[in-house]
Amino acid sequence: MDAPDGELIRTIAAGGPDGPRAEAELCRRFAPRIYLYGRRHLRDEDRARDLVQAVLLAVLQAARAGRVTEPDHADRFMLGTCRNLASRVRATEARHAGEGGLEALEAIESAPPWDGVDAGALIRCLGTLDERSRQIVMLTFQEDCETDVIAARLTMTSGNVRVTRHRAVASLRRCLDARPLQQERPQ
């Protein structure tokens, strides 16, 4: 189903026989985006999965009730819902998954929109980086150090830290791609 987002929202609101297919397509299209938002902003896989369910539930309920006022900007509605729920999750650690009744959600795989990256392979790829690049990757993603802190610790400029990090992550991605069992899941 290649219909634009707005058409899907209108189909759902109409409540006709094509509604379930439109709901499923909307979920398929946005689940990876919501999941990535959750991983980035909540920094937790379980919370990201919960966020996918909660956001899709809220958006589908709104679409069914005709409450999506600008169907052609469904992406903005989705992001707004994401932001609201993520901030609520952060504040209360509440879990909304499983509040039921929408079959489209049952088919949604809220797993990462990538697979095949096993940590062992990444460890080997980290071993191919030069010492400084590896330190920057580890300080950033394992120690959660800010760029300025890393720059001070390694006596570099912040700009150099960022450039080295961009290159290091690209190099790791290429290294993982070169491994035969690594395959990205199509979006």
């Binding site: 994401c82 990462p112 096993d118 460890i123 071993g127 993603f141 992550v169």
Partner: protein, 180 residues
């Protein structure tokens, strides 16, 4: 998936996942990603690296870091190894993290310690680190072995080099058994 007329550059996506963008810049990236399947796919390629990296502990840990992991609820089991020892260890259920305590080191005058990890059967070097945390009083280096190391070769040789007034090399061979 349709192509993007203004794709987000790789460097910006790495900054985004590194938390190195300002709040308005982050919001801008979020807005673009929600409307763009192609850039979402590109973002997922970056995230697959960065978010996997977040799951990995550094190969060597300080005692203080280990204590904080324990305090956070991680179930840890320590195995002590003597210099030159070659032994099998199992990663049982009910354990989140194995610590290989590479003991018997004279670290009193150590300036720094480096670590190299090799596959015993092939000689492949998995990684080498110039400066790893060490426990001077314990005379030990603490190696973090996580469950996802199961995808690495099980026969590993840890070579520790102590840089003091003289340089000393000590090796330990650890044969891992992970549950199927």
């Amino acid at each position: 998936m349709s192509a993007c007329a203004h794709p987000i550059p790789w460097a910006i996506l790495v900054d985004y996942w590194a938390g190195a963008l300002t709040v308005p810049e982050t919001d801008q990236v979020d807005e673009h990603l929600f409307g763009c399947g192609a850039c979402t796919a590109a973002s997922a390629r970056v995230a697959s690296v960065t978010e996997t990296a977040r799951q990995i502990l550094p190969p060597a840990l300080s005692r203080a870091r280990l204590d904080s992991l324990r305090a956070g609820g991680l179930r840890v089991r320590e195995n002590a190894f003597s210099p030159g020892e070659r032994r099998t260890v199992g990663f049982d259920g009910g354990v989140d993290l194995l610590i290989h305590r590479l003991a018997g080191l004279d670290l009193a005058g150590a300036d720094h310690v480096s670590l190299q990890v090799l596959v015993e059967s092939t000689g492949e070097r998995l990684f080498a680190l110039d400066h790893v945390p060490f426990e001077r009083d314990e005379g030990a280096v603490l190696i973090a072995c996580q469950r996802h190391f199961a995808s690495l070769p099980p026969d590993t040789r840890f070579e520790v080099t102590v840089h003091a007034a003289t340089v000393t090399n000590v090796a330990y061979t650890i044969l891992h058994q992970f549950p199927a």
